[in-house]
Amino acid sequence: MSESAKTLQDLTTQDYKYGFVTDIEADTIAKGLSDDVVRLISAKKGEPEFMLEWRLKAYRHWLTMREPTWANVTYPRIDYNDIIYYSAPKSAGEGPKSLDEVDPELRKTYEKLGIPLEEQKVLAGVAVDAVFDSVSVATTFKGKLGDLGIIFCSFSEAVREHPDLVRRYLGSVVPYSDNFFATLNSAVFSDGSFVYVPKGVRCPMELSTYFRINAADTGQFERTLIVADEGAYVSYLEGCTAPKRDRNQLHAAVVELVALGDATIKYSTVQNWYPGDKNGKGGIYNFVTKRGACRGANSKISWTQVETGSAITWKYPSCILQGDNSVGEFYSVALANNYQQADTGTKMIHIGRNTKSTIISKGISAGHGQNTYRGLVKILKGAANARNYSQCDSLLMSDTCGAHTFPYVEVKNSTARLEHEASTSKIGEDQIFYCRQRGLSAEDAVGMIVNGFCKEVFRELPMEFAVEAQKLLGVSLEGSVG
């Protein structure tokens, strides 16, 4: 193997650095799923009756469903009775009233992850809601946001404090019966984030949630609901990690976004769940349903995702473009290294007139990774003058990886204009050599070339996150081109 190939190899086989376990006492229920477990979860959270009913409806529906098999991924059967559906750090109890009440062990964990919950974050303009296993441990800046009428809290709190809003919007984009994993989530979801931005308010800071799976054999089923009322604007960031464990862990989240007239929601994810080891052992199964509805005219929803982790990613952040002139965007970088499998993409459903959507997908495959783009652009009958631009690029970094593209198009209105571009390229030994001849190390050269490939997506991320994403990609690729 040549030296630059070796560096690429080293570069892409590097260890997962967030794999530590926090030793913390947890309130964990027994494995398995039943009516009683659903009731128990609801009771532990002190939920109102409507919430319990919704959960039970979902659970009963789920019992009639079958796990989907159409995705381009393979994994052993999941035993849904071998999963713990609720685990909470014990000291969290009722939930901390302020940062000082947060368990020091927990805070140390977040510091290790580079997420200080301290008030200094004000300077960075980030308000953080951190979800540890199943409960939200602290939400910063609640007061400041409250002055503007913005609600940013854990989902459980929203259910208790703002039941009307939850009732109105929960399940309105992703119904409880939507799909196998979303339905499971609807039955057992434990916590997550809730955001409501009132009419005409521009949220002055990036809102951020940080998810972490700590306990073993635990599934994480968080639920996020973001509502931007008329003319509102909000930018929301989400980051994820998990400890290294030999067993696979299930993560089945649901995210619902609702943008009313003239509202804009920007949703950015940097997903770095534990991807499993070099031989494909362990890692998170990330089976997530994310969908946004542009309900009102001139509304806009923009998804940006950087997916570097998880053993398997199954995820299609989508936009339902109901309002006239509404805009949907999907910018994605997905990396599949070692034995990772990613089947990800988007759905753009054009319903309103003059609706516009843009899809930019960058897939990077390394090692034995398999990367699939799967996307649907659907133009309904009433969507006059709808436009879509799709671009799917794949970068291959070894001879053993794969890239697959499945673009689906359904057009029922002849005034629609759709463009689709796709490319596949292999990272060039000549490109790496060129950079090295100018003095860059092979690692830096690969990093630079890969970042160049992802540029159109990274520039959509908030500044701080973009830097983070670039670093993460570098780390995730350590050891990969052969």
Partner: protein, 258 residues
Amino acid sequence: MLEIRNLRAKAGGREILKGIDLAVRTGEVHAIMGPNGSGKSTLAHVLAGRETVEVTQGEVLYDGRNLLGMAPEMRAREGVFLAFQYPVEIPGVSNMYLLKAAVNAVRKHRGEPEYDAMEFLALVKERMKLVEMDQALLNRAVNEGFSGGEKKRNEVFQMAVLDPRLCVLDETDSGLDIDALRIVAGGVNALRGPRRAMIVITHYQRLLSYIVPDRVHVLAQGRIVTSGGKELALRLEEKGYAWIEGQTAGPAAPAARV
């Protein structure tokens, strides 16, 4: 500064260089001429450390140190620069971004503080003039959508910014029209100096009317078959490479069996 001794090298399973001896002193400009396939570019790649070329015998000393033992990036940081015959495109990476990373890698290696954006910009502005570089090219992705001439100009511009000690120009004249050739040659001439040595590889004499070499070497079938002063290039132009190959076929053949 540079001493090449009995260098033999293989590429694609075939022996390309069959025993090269060459010494270049600081301040000198050497031209290497020869027909297609004679091994000119392979020699340039050996000096830069390309891994697709395998050195089978011989040594190369750079300031008395073993150049072949150094990784390509170390050679670059120590002042070896290769102006590529076919500069690659790197989509999404701006020319400025690559160059700033390169300059700072070199500075860091030398123990000098890295340039910040303003200092770097000042340096770039000054060096751009040397090759009449269009500012728009700086912010475009590396070589992406550049014309042949723009790519070559970009190579010489990078050379000017990186301030190397040993410059190897691999057919920098190919694909240039006469105006571009004059500009590129002007840039190279401006960089000539007592601290720097240059190896100019070319197929045609044309370039050497602009960049006048101290020595000219003719490479044929992997060997330097003749060397001389600048007038050798003119004789070659007049008589063609067949003249050299005819002259040296006798003595060269037995040497190959050694």
